[in-house]
């Protein structure tokens, strides 16, 4: 009897194992009909993941394209992947089609020729970004994009704080970089920033460098060199030397990932932090990840701003379908959906003036959440320094404060 059952189980498990494998080959054979586009994008945010799921449903219905969101913990994983494929001579059958990048991930991919060039101009919806009037969509951290990546969204740096903590501490939220230091000195351990490897970490350092060098700001928009570094670094070091011992864990341990900032503000271990997506704060409150006493604001001495992009790899096997997906990402419907606070809240790259009235109406929002950024207040935007500054500042930082992995 047992033997019979055992044989049944073996046979069944063989079926279970074999059947999907058969299904898989069918899929591949039918590849002509429903092209598969693999979009490698950071997967640490429920909002972004939810939005991409919506995009996948839309492109399936509209264009019969299968969009797979490959969730990365770190975008450089995908960059390494494409490089490894190139190294192994896999020039036609890459496993990455689209990749969400900007800044130095883009610079690295451009340097090693890992992206397709001049495909963005082919997209119908790209003209809606008004590239002639709006150079931010064709320059990625000062680096010309050469049509290798299409703009996808826009962000600027905001700070957020626990108003209940500040009430208990009897303090006001700091409005400038100098006030931030005074706050951290009065109430040690309640602020930190991630290591400069992290996108937000290096952004904080750039913000500090820009804010502390108001008189030398022009230097940041030319390639960095020893002379310009020597001009701007002393004030930055003096500031950070004073700030670090007052930070969370006395600055001995710093966070590896920016997303941990939000987690620690949520648990109350930090009293304030910063973000590049203003809308993620109210949406985190509605998802209970941040408490209701959180308030968002922009620093009065300026707010670092940049654009993020979608790149197409040089060895993608479904380029046509991938371009269709990107064109959809740039459509007013997809951009408006992305800008909605309850979805993701990422600012659109489209030039609203050049849209039709009905398309413009898609972007109007009514209910403003108490934790959301008050957009009626004027904000000074600080453009991203030339991309060479990212490496220069980071290396100088590591040189001074040690390599923190």
């Amino acid at each position: 009897m047992q033997v019979f059952f055992f044989s049944c189980i073996v046979v069944l498990s063989v079926f279970v194992v074999a059947k999907p494998a058969v299904g898989k080959t069918n899929d591949e054979a039918a590849g002509e009909k429903t092209p598969l586009v693999r979009f490698h994008a950071w997967g640490g945010s429920a909002q972004v993941n939810g939005y991409l799921q919506w995009v996948a449903e839309q492109v399936k219905i509209r264009f019969n394209i299968e969009l797979q969101h490959v969730k990365l913990a770190d975008t450089s994983d995908a960059v390494s992947r494409v490089l490894a494929e190139k190294a192994a001579g896999n020039h036609k059958n890459g496993s990455v089609d689209l990749i969400w990048i900007n800044g130095e991930n883009f610079a690295a991919m451009k340097k090693h020729d890992l992206l397709s060039a001049s495909w963005v101009d082919e997209l119908d919806n790209f003209s809606l970004t008004n590239p002639d009037e709006n150079p931010a969509v064709t320059k990625d951290f000062g680096e010309p994009t050469l049509g290798m990546e299409a703009p996808w969204g826009k962000a600027s740096m905001v700070f957020y704080y626990r108003s209940a903590h500040f009430y208990t501490l009897g303090l006001m939220a700091p409005k400038t970089i100098e006030e931030l230091l005074r706050f951290s000195q009065k109430s040690p351990g309640r602020f930190t920033y991630p290591v400069p490897n992290d996108y937000l970490g290096i952004s904080f350092i750039k913000y500090a460098a820009l804010a502390l060098n108001k008189d030398n700001r022009g230097l940041f928009y030319q390639p960095a060199n020893d002379k310009s570094l020597n001009a701007v670094l002393p004030s930055l070091w003096a500031y950070l030397d004073a700030l670090h011992p007052t930070m969370w864990q006395q600055g001995k341990h710093m966070l590896r990932q920016a997303s941990q900032l939000q987690r620690l503000v949520g648990t109350g271990e930090l009293s304030m932090a910063f973000s590049f997506t203003a809308s993620e704060i109210p949406s985190a409150v509605t998802r209970f990840d941040l408490p209701e006493d959180v308030r968002t604001y922009s620093m009065q001495d300026g707010s670092l701003a940049n654009v993020h992009f979608v790149g197409l790899t040089y060895n993608s096997k479904n380029k046509a379908a991938a371009k269709t997906v990107v064109n959809f990402l740039l459509s007013p419907q997809a951009q408006a959906k992305k800008q909605a606070v309850e979805v993701w809240g990422d600012d659109t790259v489209l030039d609203l003036e050049s849209l039709s009235a009905s398309d413009q109406a898609l972007f109007v929002e009514d209910n403003i959440h108490p934790s959301a950024l008050d957009k009626s207040q004027p904000t000074i935007l600080l453009a991203e320094p030339h991309s060479s500054w990212t490496d220069a500042l980071r290396e100088a930082w590591y040189e001074r404060y040690g390599a923190r992995y």
């Binding site: 799921q53 991930n105 710093m254 648990t267």
Partner: protein, 581 residues
């Protein structure tokens, strides 16, 4: 015929374990020597190593890896033997086994996150400590847990995870018929001469047991010195352990850092090797000191200290498990939950819904891979074990076989996995499922083998002899006699294989290039996100998945064999086999 076939299976097993590891090592050795054509490095030299050793923090990293790895293993060994010494003759032992079993299958990433929930300045223990005070803001994160620069939180977390494994290994050895009769003889002698139970254990039982579980302990040690998940989540980063730095360099945006990463991977092999030597050296010292003490005639061996420490350890585990379950469950359904409240303001299923919506594909991928890997691993292991019976090999071949079995566990994963990916890109670049399958098999087969080997040794060979003398062929004996009587052990080994396949993070991510999302890759990605609540949901799902396999393994054989009354006894029996893992 059948005997021939099993020998082929044995060779397949050896090749399956050795080829990927050796290919992977070659794949990092060349870049470590400066040869990596993809980025234009074409000359062989030692320059990369020079750069590596000129790094300011490199020795501190090596020290942290050694300290956390060796320290946690020693602590876990000490803890495990204290527990065994205190409870080996009591009924409590079964309860402790049951208590510790879940730790075995709980993935490291999940365990690290769970400890973070409990021990952080806003965690459950801090909240309990704040009861009755006016604290409205949690401590500012200057306690030693987590992320301390000395690596103590990593050491503690690793040893909490290793201790159950060592205990279960020791118990599986102690329950083997041959060893068991030998040990009970020793115990009788010890008792007759008036030694306390604790002294009997340390002087007579432990030397026998330790010698038998040395290889698995060394595997634990290598794992501890090269683990990535735990130091990544709980360790400091000024500097981090070597393994974390390696992963960081491999993923570095500046692709020339891969050379440095590869040389560091070679160094990691040396560090793990050094840790092995340290542990073996420590063993020598213990043996030397132990021999001297053995003849002294002390009838007691710090008895009250041993009992106290053992009870303390059990209490710690109970408190921890309770706190982890409470905080993870609560966080997964919590609305707002301000410090220092012990209960959330309300409950919601929002986070569960968010997770479940995205889980269909990862879940089916995990199951498919796990079932495929575990089933074929079982088949391979069974045939290999059968070939041992049918055609025993010489002593040297036997030794070579057990080393090759442990090879994937003795070579640090961060050292060979990156090289393996490079190698896999050279051959069959499209076969991601195949590559992922191989990468999983490398880790699953050794554990399945260990688990099954114990059951095989316990199998009463006289049944096979009777069947053979009645004219049955080896295949018939295998199929009609051995398989049915080993069925529950097979199911447990299968569940174990499933659990290990489920928990693989780095192998899945690297071999599939991220295209095969599993529950574990999703969970680690969610930890890099900002939602504590979503992370809690993933931790629960990660914990439940392997348990489902084990529940099936415990109840299915019993239900199939005899529906009602035997369930309990069979459950116990199969649990004992699980401890072979």
């Amino acid at each position: 015929m059948f005997a021939q076939f099993t020998r082929v299976a044995r060779w397949c097993l050896v090749l399956l374990l050795c080829v990927p590891v050796l290919a992977g090592l070659v794949g990092v050795a060349f870049p470590a020597l400066g040869y990596f054509p993809a980025i234009g490095a074409n000359t062989l030299s030692l320059d990369v190593f020079k750069t590596l050793f000129s790094l300011k923090d490199i020795w501190q990293m090596v020290w942290l890896s050694l300290f956390t790895g060796v320290g946690s293993t020693l602590l876990a060994i000490a803890g495990a033997f204290l527990l065994l010494a205190s409870f080996y003759q009591s009924n409590w032992l079964n309860k402790i086994q049951g208590l510790l079993s879940p730790f075995l299958v709980f993935p490291h990433a999940g365990a690290a996150i769970a400890l973070l929930f409990v021990f952080s300045p806003s965690g459950v223990f801090a909240r309990i400590a704040a009861v009755g005070t006016n604290a409205a803001i949690p401590g500012a994160g200057d306690a030693f847990f987590p992320n301390d620069p000395w690596g103590l939180s990593v050491l503690l977390a690793l040893s909490l995870k290793e201790l159950p494994f060592i205990i279960l290994m020791a118990l599986s050895v102690m329950s083997q018929p041959l060893v068991k009769s030998k040990l009970s003889g020793y115990i009788k002698v010890g008792t007759a001469l008036g030694y306390s139970p604790v002294a009997t254990f340390f002087k007579l039982v432990m030397p026998v047991v330790f010698a038998q579980i040395k290889l698995p302990i060394l595997a634990v040690l290598v794992f501890a010195t090269s683990n990535v998940e735990i130091p990544l989540i709980l360790g400091g980063n000024n500097p981090s352990t070597l393994a974390v730095a390696i992963m960081h360099w491999f993923n570095h945006i500046d692709l020339s850092m891969r050379l440095l990463a590869s040389s560091a991977a070679v160094l990691q092999v040396a560090v793990s090797g050094g840790a092995l030597l340290l542990l073996l050296g420590a063993e020598r010292v213990v043996i030397y000191v132990g021999r001297k003490r053995l003849a002294k005639g002390n009838r007691r061996f710090f008895d009250s200290f041993v009992h106290g420490a053992a009870h303390g350890t059990v209490a710690l585990y109970i408190a921890l498990i309770g706190a982890v379950i409470y905080s993870v469950l609560m966080y997964s359904i919590a609305k707002q939950w301000a410090y220092p409240d012990l209960f959330p303001e309300g409950t919601t299923l929002l986070h569960w819904r968010t997770a479940v919506e995205t889980l269909a594909t990862p879940l089916s991928n995990s199951l498919l891979l796990g079932i495929l890997v575990s089933t074929s691993a079982i088949a391979l292991v069974l045939f290999t074990l059968e070939s041992e019976h049918l055609k025993p090999v010489g002593k040297n071949a036997e030794r070579a076989f057990s080393v090759s079995l442990f090879l994937p566990l003795l070579v640090p994963g961060v050292a060979f996995l990156y090289g393996l990916v490079w190698f896999q890109q050279l051959v069959l670049q499209d076969a991601v499922w195949f590559h992922t399958y191989i990468a999983h098999m490398v880790y699953v087969v050794p554990y399945v083998f260990l688990s099954m080997a114990v059951a095989y040794r316990k199998f009463d060979i006289r049944y096979a002899m009777v069947a053979q003398s009645l004219g049955k062929t080896p295949w018939q004996v295998f199929y009609h006699v051995k398989l049915p009587s080993l069925f529950s052990a097979i199911m447990v080994a299968w569940a174990l294989g499933l659990a290990i396949s489920f928990s693989q993070y780095l192998p899945t991510l690297l071999a599939s290039g991220g295209t095969i999302a599993t529950i574990t890759t999703e969970a680690v990605a969610s930890v890099s996100g900002s939602s504590t609540r979503l992370t809690a949901v993933f931790v629960i799902i990660q914990a439940i998945m392997p348990l489902v396999g084990f529940l099936m393994a415990w109840y299915l054989p019993a239900a199939l064999v005899k529906p009602s009354d035997k369930v309990r006894s069979l459950k116990k029996k199969s649990r004992a086999v699980l401890h072979g893992a």
